[in-house]
């Protein structure tokens, strides 16, 4: 594994992915705020949640790049399109598998069946995060496609 390469491009890909998700949120295309969702797992302070979440999101993206590198090594190739394909798989897994069960994993997220509680008041994302807007899956997929493509393209260039 080319560790310096994957660390460099992992960082770039994480920043681009976060920019796409936050940009689409800022433009009103979705209400999904990954930083707020992640940060509120660690703190109940409204003002601190997003800054904490941005750091966690970037670090998570960086760490996830190592998994991508392992897959590239196993495949014996790293191209922008193989990276994008991995990103698509990851996005679908996040939307279909992770989002619906997030209320069970998140300490401050409400449950659709029981409703909000004093310590669990955050709106759950629902299937494919559609609760946060019908365009949420689209931008989630786009962000992950960009993430994977940058990793695949960049990793190939420096290998």
């Amino acid at each position: 594994m080319n560790l310096p390469s994957i660390l460099l491009w992992g960082f770039v890909a994480s920043v681009v992915m976060a920019t796409i998700t936050e940009g689409s949120r800022g433009l009103g295309w979705t209400r999904m705020s990954v930083p707020f969702m992640l940060g509120s797992m660690f703190t109940a302070d409204y003002d601190s949640a997003s800054p904490v979440g941005i750091v966690v999101h970037l670090l998570g993206g960086w760490a996830f790049a190592l998994l991508y590198a392992l897959v590239f090594q196993a495949l014996g190739r790293a191209t922008w399109w193989t990276g994008a394909l991995l990103g698509l798989v990851q996005a679908i897994a996040v939307l279909v598998l992770v989002m619906p069960v997030l209320p069970s994993l998140h300490p401050r997220m409400a449950n659709e069946r029981t409703g909000p509680e004093p310590t669990r008041a955050l709106e759950p994302p629902g299937f494919m995060a559609l609760n946060y807007g019908t365009r949420t899956p689209l931008f989630t997929v786009l962000a992950h496609l960009a993430y994977g493509a940058i990793l695949g393209g960049g990793y190939r260039l420096l290998s």
Partner: protein
């Protein structure tokens, strides 16, 4: 189609207001929220039945049977309580937009915005109905509401979510455009209805029941603690505190800006075109509002406003715009909303405000006077503020001789307004004083020379010997009510023959039923507006300044009779009927009330006002 109230349309004065220092809601006597803009004061409305009863949207909680209604604010708070008495029982509705201290906010996720309503039956039994008919984007959107199980009823549109939750059983209409509840309540029954919004992030859904009760109690405690800081010791403490609480609702806490009113297009002349959007921050109104709050012992708002002002004017220094939005955005194009019928048919409904492009020279005086008030009360001017104020002084020296639109921002063009010139004099006077006190450094010799020029111009061209009065404009023969402020800012001695003559002229020309119109000159608009609330209070202040406390007190008491049952004033009052006119509630009028009460208390020696403008020091002038 559901209606916001079952009887005749409410008058402007039939509304009460709740808020959270970010946005505000107007609630009718019939328990209907007819005006709400989220996420901030000047955002597109969620409910706008105020401006179009049929299609504007509303959120009502009310008895189904005819009821007599009484209202009050819980003491020293902006939590509204409406009591409905029907033939069979008594229902009590409590409305608030929850606020909490920083300590209380820490450790809990709270919604960005919430309207929390509690309905309880305190006697007998009665049927209650809840109708929520949101029409976002000034009623241009007819939403489709969706159920989400225990999470409530949702509406989602362009990055915004509205969520309504209740412990009553909610029923959606057939087209899913509105929801309704009908329930029989018996003595002791208590239910909560919560409407929250989220913009650009997942919503936070606070629980109902005891948790909702706790939010109401926290809100009551927050407002009580704020009210307890009031140092006013004069007469009419309830009216003064209600005015202070109303002004606090106009402060946009995230930035420190102060809006003139939370509404748009409530007509100054019923059925006419004098309908304006006041949901912005006029530097004049904001400065006067902060002075009023300063005088009552509230200093924190001043620091926030100064910070907002420095940030807002940085790009345009030394010029300033008349008004900005709450985040300092200067571009506020005025447009009409042709699809809305207007309050009582008063069209057009306008959003944005074309006055932002006007030149109103008096605002330099008002802003700098507020800065001086800030320093007199121990405030410290940081480097940015000092630089801003010095730049204002230079701008005044360059601009004072130009014609301007003036304080009343008519659409009829510019002229040499006497009040504007006097406030240029005030601006330079206050800067010289702050220089002498060591707060900043300005070229005082130049400023004092210009002050002399201004005074000479006012005393020769702004005073009409034949009338024995200052005039509204240079070389004019008419008056406007702003001339009563010349002593207030220390430009003139209230007891001087010139001011006594001016007061007599203003009272004779502009007075009606104990009220004052602001002017009678042609302002380029059709229709006749009402008497201007703050001008009427200026007359009280003037009488107090000349020591005529008996007349001042009587006039003040008379003016208080024009407030609504909650103590709220609109911008204007119809002298014939006493009805409220114009945007509501209006910060300017409540500023006038506070200032008049403080002046009365000061003259009686029960509430000292810091000496900011002693007329005795006006010897730099040479007429």
């Amino acid at each position: 189609m559901p209606q916001p109230s079952s009887s005749t349309p409410p008058a402007i004065g039939d509304y009460g207001i709740i808020g959270d220092c970010r946005s505000a809601a107007l609630i009718s006597r019939h328990g209907s929220i007819d005006w709400l803009c989220w996420p901030q004061f000047d955002s597109p409305s969620i409910f706008a039945a105020l401006l179009d009863r049929d299609r504007g949207g509303f959120f009502a909680i009310r008895p189904t049977a005819p009821a007599s209604v009484t209202r009050r604010y819980l003491p020293a708070t902006n939590v509204l309580e409406t009591t409905f008495r029907t033939d069979t029982g008594v229902l009590r509705l409590v409305d608030c937009m929850p606020v909490a201290s920083r300590e209380q906010q820490r450790g809990t996720l709270r919604p960005q915005h919430e309207v929390l309503r509690r309905i309880e039956c305190v006697e007998g039994e009665a049927d209650v109905e809840v109708i929520c008919d949101p029409r976002p984007d000034y009623a241009r959107v007819r939403p489709r509401l969706r159920r989400r199980g225990a999470l409530g009823v949702w509406y989602e549109h362009d990055g915004m979510a509205l969520v309504l939750r209740s412990d009553l059983r909610v029923r959606l209409s057939d087209d899913h455009a509105d929801l309704a509840v009908r329930a029989r309540m018996r003595a002791g029954d208590r239910h909560y209805v919560s409407l929250v919004s989220a913009f650009g992030e997942p919503a936070v859904l606070p629980p109902l029941g005891l948790h909702a009760e706790q939010r109401i109690l926290q809100t009551v405690a927050w407002w009580e603690a704020w009210s307890a800081q009031c140092t006013y010791a004069g007469r009419y403490p309830d009216a003064v505190l209600r005015s202070a609480l109303t002004l606090k609702l106009m402060v946009f806490a995230p930035s420190g800006a102060v809006v003139a009113a939370p509404t748009t297009s409530l007509p100054e002349a019923m059925g006419g075109e004098r309908n304006w959007d006041y949901r912005y921050c006029w530097l004049r109104d904001s400065s006067l509002t902060l002075q009023a709050l300063f005088d009552l012992g509230y200093h924190g708002e001043g620091e926030s406003f100064m910070s907002w002002l420095v940030h807002t004017t940085r790009a345009s220094l030394p010029r300033v715009q008349v008004l900005y939005d709450v985040y300092g955005e200067p571009h506020l194009p005025e447009r009409t909303l042709g699809h809305l019928a207007g309050f009582n048919g008063s069209r057009p409904v306008r959003v944005g405000n074309g006055a932002h492009g006007q030149l109103q020279l008096d605002i330099y005086g008002e802003v700098i006077d507020a800065a001086r008030a800030f320093t007199v009360r121990g405030g410290h001017l940081n480097r940015g503020t000092r630089r801003m104020l010095a730049a204002f002084g230079d701008a005044v020296c360059d601009l004072w001789s130009q014609p301007d639109e003036g304080i009343w921002e008519p659409r009829a063009g510019r002229r040499h307004n006497t009040y504007s010139k006097s406030m240029c004099w005030v601006a330079l006077d206050r800067l010289c004083r702050m220089h002498d006190e060591g707060h900043l450094s300005v070229p005082t010799a130049r400023y004092r020379r210009v002050m002399d020029e201004i005074r000479r111009a006012i005393e020769t061209r702004g005073f009409n010997d034949a009338l024995g009065s200052y005039t509204d404009a240079f070389d004019g023969a008419d008056v406007d009510a702003s001339l009563l402020l010349l002593p207030r800012y220390g430009y003139a001695d209230a007891g001087s023959p010139r001011m006594r003559g001016t007061y007599a002229r203003v009272a004779a020309r502009l007075g009606a039923n104990g009220l004052l119109y602001r002017y009678h000159a042609d302002d380029g608009l059709a229709g006749e507006e009402g008497a201007f609330g703050i001008c009427s209070f200026w007359a009280v202040s003037y009488l107090a300044q000349v020591g005529d406390l008996k007349r001042a007190d009587a006039a003040f008491q008379h003016l208080l009779t024009f407030a609504n049952d909650l103590g709220l004033f609109a911008e204007e009052i119809d002298p014939a009927t006493g009805a409220a006119l114009g945007n509501f509630p209006q910060a300017f009028t409540h500023v006038g009330l506070i200032d008049a009460a403080l002046q009365l208390a000061h003259e009686r020696g029960v509430h000292a006002r810091p000496d900011e403008s002693s007329p005795a020091e006006l010897t730099t002038a040479t007429v």
